[in-house]
């Protein structure tokens, strides 16, 4: 068994050696505390080497010694020298050289990597590592059909990489092998980590990795090293500032101001992106001043946080509202809820429950007041957020309004109203929304209107009208203190009041059926979600609803279908 493993290690080392620099360089790097996987990736070693569990420093050391012709210490105990008995060999090397000076342990999979856990005695670290990831997925009870590995590493690693390259350039620039090597040929730490663990993670989880809505996020942090890095960067900054101050002959007062800024900066740590940007802006000279070449040996490993999450899923639909007491979205005035319920909540909470999501966002393609019924609308959907946005302006909406006027209705009124053809009206932002909308005068089109008399009443009638989307209908009827003109009141030269308003139709062309639900009945079911079965749909994380409206013919058909479907 041991012999087999030693042979494996030997073959891997000898294959990798083709891309590696001459043995004395690798030995030099090893003794500077660089781990085997980092040496491999620095010189762009490709392939499945990374996932091999035998990649230990002493193993490579032994192999290189062999290659170098130093025949000391071979023969019978040769097997153990390939690092199979890691503990015994590592004791011989420096104690403070426990972690790689470049990746700070990320590619070494040490046992004390995991936050808040004691060390275990397992030998093969990658397996333990993979086991940990699998566990955290299991705890959250995810159902997965694949995964995407997301890695975030502390910025100090970039500095370490630059430092080791600068070190090699200084030392080996004259040697032939160094000619076409550069920082840009290396395999990034993130890729090397993926190469190391992906295969066994796939095996463990039983699914493939790739572009997937399920993300496993491995976040490495090293607070100590990050703090040192930020401090040294601040040194550069403040010296730069002082230089510019001298050039510009800045007054003493301003310098005091800068001092305050400095102390404030010390309190808040900068984002990784900002640090990386600063790092890349440093010229070689200042870099050498700030950082040790080669990087200092690390006594602390990075700490790892494993989190899993799912990318947000968009579900679209149309809704039917048969109640005047249910608002579209949760409506709160002065901490007091208005209306009994909202479409947002009825659909959202139910769907959230089914999908076990964190939260949801509700985005509507149009909106109506709480006392407006929405009928003739169908449940359809699409993830095409933008399509909906485009459709908003061209949309036409048809309404039925119950209107009262201050004098009896006469036949001329019917004519004057029905003669309206694409009439432009001017609407100042209605008083009822003026507190949250910009005060503007908006031009809107009334496409057509028709009066339907109500038998037995001379002052009440039904007004059917079709308008451009965005017309405030209530204001168009009563005139909003003369702020909407013309209005029904001004057209009929009397006082007009609106008692009831219903949307009868919305013209907009979308027909992607994904989710069918009947909010009023508070029932939801999934149907025909492409590439996403009902099973899959039950563990979505963030929820976004998009509402679409459809024309009445398709609508009625689908309502019937929906009724049959829901039983």
């Amino acid at each position: 068994m041991a012999g087999q493993m030693a042979d494996d290690a030997r073959s891997i080392f000898s294959r990798a050696a083709l891309s590696l620099p001459p043995p004395h360089v690798s030995l030099d790097l090893l003794s500077s505390g660089v781990c085997v996987r980092c040496i491999f990736r620095l010189f762009g070693v490709h392939g499945d080497f990374y996932s091999c569990p035998f990649l230990t420093g002493p193993g490579l050391h032994y192999f290189l010694k062999l290659q170098n012709g130093c025949q000391a210490g071979i023969s019978e105990n040769g097997h153990s020298s390939f690092g199979l008995h890691q503990c015994s060999t590592s004791e011989e090397s420096d104690v403070d050289q426990k972690y790689c000076s470049i990746c700070l342990g990320i590619l070494q999979f040490p046992h004390d990597l995991y936050l808040g856990e004691g060390t275990s005695e397992d030998n093969f670290s990658i397996d333990v590592f993979v086991e940990k990831i699998a566990e955290s997925i299991k705890i959250a009870n995810y159902h997965i059909d694949g995964f995407f590995l997301e890695v975030s590493i502390p910025p100090v690693i970039v500095a370490n990489e630059r430092s080791i390259w600068s070190y090699m350039k200084k030392k080996y620039d004259s040697e032939a092998w160094f000619k076409n090597k550069s920082l840009y040929n290396q395999i990034s730490l993130k890729d090397a980590l993926r190469l190391s663990i992906t295969e066994s993670l796939e095996k463990k989880l039983g699914v493939k990795s790739g572009a997937n809505s399920f993300h496993i996020c491995l976040a490495y942090t090293n607070s100590e090293a990050s703090l040192i890095l930020q401090n040294s960067l601040r040194k550069v900054q403040s010296s730069n500032r002082r230089r510019t101050e001298k050039e510009n002959v800045v007054k003493v007062v301003d310098q005091c101001g800068n001092g305050q800024v400095d102390s404030r900066e010390q309190l808040c740590s900068k984002s990784d992106a900002a640090i990386l940007k600063e790092l890349s802006s440093l010229d070689d000279h200042t870099f050498f001043d700030l950082f040790e070449l080669p990087p200092k040996k690390a006594s602390n490993s990075c700490k790892l946080m494993i989190t899993c999450y799912r990318m947000p899923m968009f579900i679209g639909g149309r809704y039917l509202k048969f109640s005047r007491k249910v608002s579209q979205t949760l409506w709160i005035i002065d901490d007091e809820r208005m209306g009994e319920a909202s479409v947002e909540e009825i659909v959202g909470t139910r769907a959230l429950e089914i999908c076990r999501g964190d939260s949801y966002k509700f985005h509507a393609a149009g909106r109506e007041d709480i006392d407006v019924m929405v009928r003739n609308l169908e449940v359809v959907g699409s993830e095409a957020w933008n399509l909906m946005r485009v459709g908003e302006a061209e949309k036409q909406k048809q309404y039925a309004a119950l209107v009262w006027i201050s004098r009896p209705l006469i036949d001329e009124d019917l004519q004057s109203i029905s003669s309206v053809n694409n009439m432009e009206i001017s609407q100042s932002t209605p008083i009822r929304v003026l507190h949250r909308r910009s005060p503007l005068e908006r031009k809107r089109i009334i496409h057509w209107m028709k009066i339907e008399k109500i038998v037995g009443s001379s002052q009440f009638f039904m007004l059917h009208l079709c308008t451009q989307a965005g017309t405030y209908i209530k204001e168009f009827v009563h005139g909003d203190l003369g702020r909407t003109f013309p209005s029904i009141g001004s057209l009929l030269a009397c006082r007009a009041e609106i008692l009831q308003l219903d949307v009868t139709d919305v013209k907009m062309d979308f027909k992607l059926v994904k989710l069918r639900f009947r909010p009023y009945a508070c029932r939801a079911c999934y149907e025909g979600i492409p590439s996403c079965s009902a099973d899959v749909a039950s563990y979505l994380f963030l929820f976004v609803f998009i509402l679409y409206y459809l024309c009445p013919k398709e609508l009625k058909l689908s309502i019937i279908k929906l009724k049959l479907h829901l039983g």
Binding site: I333, S428, I431, R432, S438, L481, E497, L499, I559
Partner: protein, 225 residues
């Protein structure tokens, strides 16, 4: 077998058409109200959307103004029916928003955040209303930002005589909620206002003032409750 299948589809189609017509009926019933349920004269938009407050004898006697407060906090300011200007001979002849330092109709408020809005005090003048050669100053009544003035009054002052409580409003003010709470109790409710001004209807402005001083002053703090 074939027959049963045919029957099934037949049943289904008749079922769906039945369902369709039933549904149409249902929707129509939802849409068309029953006349029995309708009031003979419905509440107006102003009545149902605003709470009506009145500031009587504001700074000067018979300078009665209304403050219509919408649920969203905005206040529509205008002249109450008992305002002296409306009851002067011939009614209102002109409206001028040029009040001393600035012209209230000049500044245009923009954006959600209401940039450029003037911050006014209760005593700040909104406009001067001219009736029968006398100038009456309409005031802000509440502390807040001036969102808009009714500049249609400049071209058409007749609006004040026809519908001072609707198209003849003067301005829209946005008070801060705390400012509103402070000033709210100094106004009369619609019922109290009706009671007060109804008793003295027909009497002259100075009489109104006298009445008011006699009975209203001691109980000033109770107004609007």
């Amino acid at each position: 077998m074939a027959m049963t299948e045919g029957q099934e589809t037949l049943e289904k189609s008749s079922l769906s058409s039945l369902e369709k017509s039933v549904e149409d009926e249902e929707l129509r019933a939802l849409l068309i109200p029953d006349l029995k349920d309708l009031p003979s004269i419905p509440r107006s938009a102003v009545e149902s959307n605003f709470v009506r407050y009145y500031a009587v004898d504001f700074i000067k006697p018979a300078h009665d103004q209304y403050i219509y407060r919408h649920a969203n906090g905005l206040c529509v300011i205008g002249l109450a029916p008992s305002h002296a200007a409306l009851n002067d001979v011939g009614g209102v002849q002109s409206v001028d928003f040029n009040v001393g330092k600035s012209n209230r109709s000049d500044l245009k408020v923009t954006g959600k955040r209401k940039r450029n809005a003037q911050h006014l005090q209760p005593e700040s003048a909104l406009c001067n209303v001219c009736a029968n050669g006398t100038y009456y100053t309409a005031r802000c009544c509440v502390k807040g930002s001036l969102l808009e003035v009714n500049d249609r009054l400049i071209m058409n002052p007749e609006l004040l005589n026809l519908a001072a409580d609707r198209e003849g409003y003067i301005a829209i003010i946005m008070p801060k909620p705390t400012d509103w709470l402070k000033v709210k109790d100094s106004f009369l409710s619609y019922e109290d206002y009706k009671k007060l001004r109804h008793q003295v209807s027909g009497s002259s402005a100075s009489n109104v003032k006298a009445m008011k001083l006699k009975e209203a002053k001691p109980t000033n703090s109770c107004f609007g409750i």
